[in-house]
């Protein structure tokens, strides 16, 4: 099942700079996407979401961009902070409200 892909397993960014995490999907029926953050020994924490009727959604330092024609979304974090260091999962909402997750990208923000 490769319907949601995160091709970068890891990303390192200097504190204060922008972090860009990418996600691709293959199922054109997906119309709602979510980003989750996960710390070790914890469950995924909901961060931000976007509906396919939009191409951008912003919440504080977090912005998600959606390019439907490319089946691509990205999460921008600016400015990045050391506390943002975690694994970030992209997820797409299926027809039964089940989530299809990517494999995650480990973000390290260097102080």
């Amino acid at each position: 099942d490769q319907q949601v892909k995160q091709n970068s397993p890891s990303l390192s960014v200097q504190e204060g700079r922008i972090s860009i995490l990418n996600c691709d999907y293959t199922n054109s029926m997906f119309d709602y996407f979510l980003w989750y953050k996960k710390y070790p020994a914890e469950g995924p924490t909901f961060l931000i979401s976007i509906s396919s009727i939009k191409d951008k959604n912003e919440d504080g330092r977090f912005t998600v961009f959606l390019n439907k024609s490319a089946k691509h979304l990205s999460l921008h974090i600016v400015p990045s902070q050391p506390g943002d260091s975690a694994v970030y999962f992209c997820a797409a909402l299926g027809g039964a409200n089940n989530l299809f997750f990517g494999t995650g990208t480990r973000l390290t923000v260097i102080p």
């Binding site: 979510l34 909901f46 409200n97 089940n98």
Partner: protein
């Protein structure tokens, strides 16, 4: 802030034994889910539950698995006869009417 809780945090069991994983959803949430993550793999959907019945289940959720909400608060996942390959983190998630799902901290199941 209300959160989803799960017990136990870690369960070790022998192959063939039954296990019950427990979840306490956020109180006004209506939709309940179980997911699992095998070490090094992606988080995978198991089952969704709404209005006291299963609304969707994945291929993973075979006859060895069952879910119930026995007392209107707890939401449980039972594995009848555990196999080695059932070793994973099991996450409960709950949702209000909207699509955002809120996850518990997980139960690490180790089958020996």
């Amino acid at each position: 802030e209300p959160e989803v809780t799960q017990t136990p945090s870690h369960q070790v069991t022998q192959m063939g034994q039954e296990v019950i994983l427990r979840c306490v959803p956020i109180s006004n949430h209506l939709y309940f889910y179980w997911y699992r993550q095998i070490l090094g793999q992606k988080v995978e959907f198991l089952v969704s539950f709404y209005n006291n019945e299963i609304s969707e289940k994945s291929e993973i959720f075979d006859d060895q698995f069952s879910v119930e909400r026995p007392d209107g608060s707890n939401f449980t996942l039972k594995i009848r006869s555990t196999k080695l390959e059932d070793s994973a983190m099991y996450f409960c998630a709950t949702a209000p009417v909207g699509p955002e799902q809120y996850f518990g901290p997980g139960t690490r199941l180790t089958v020996t």
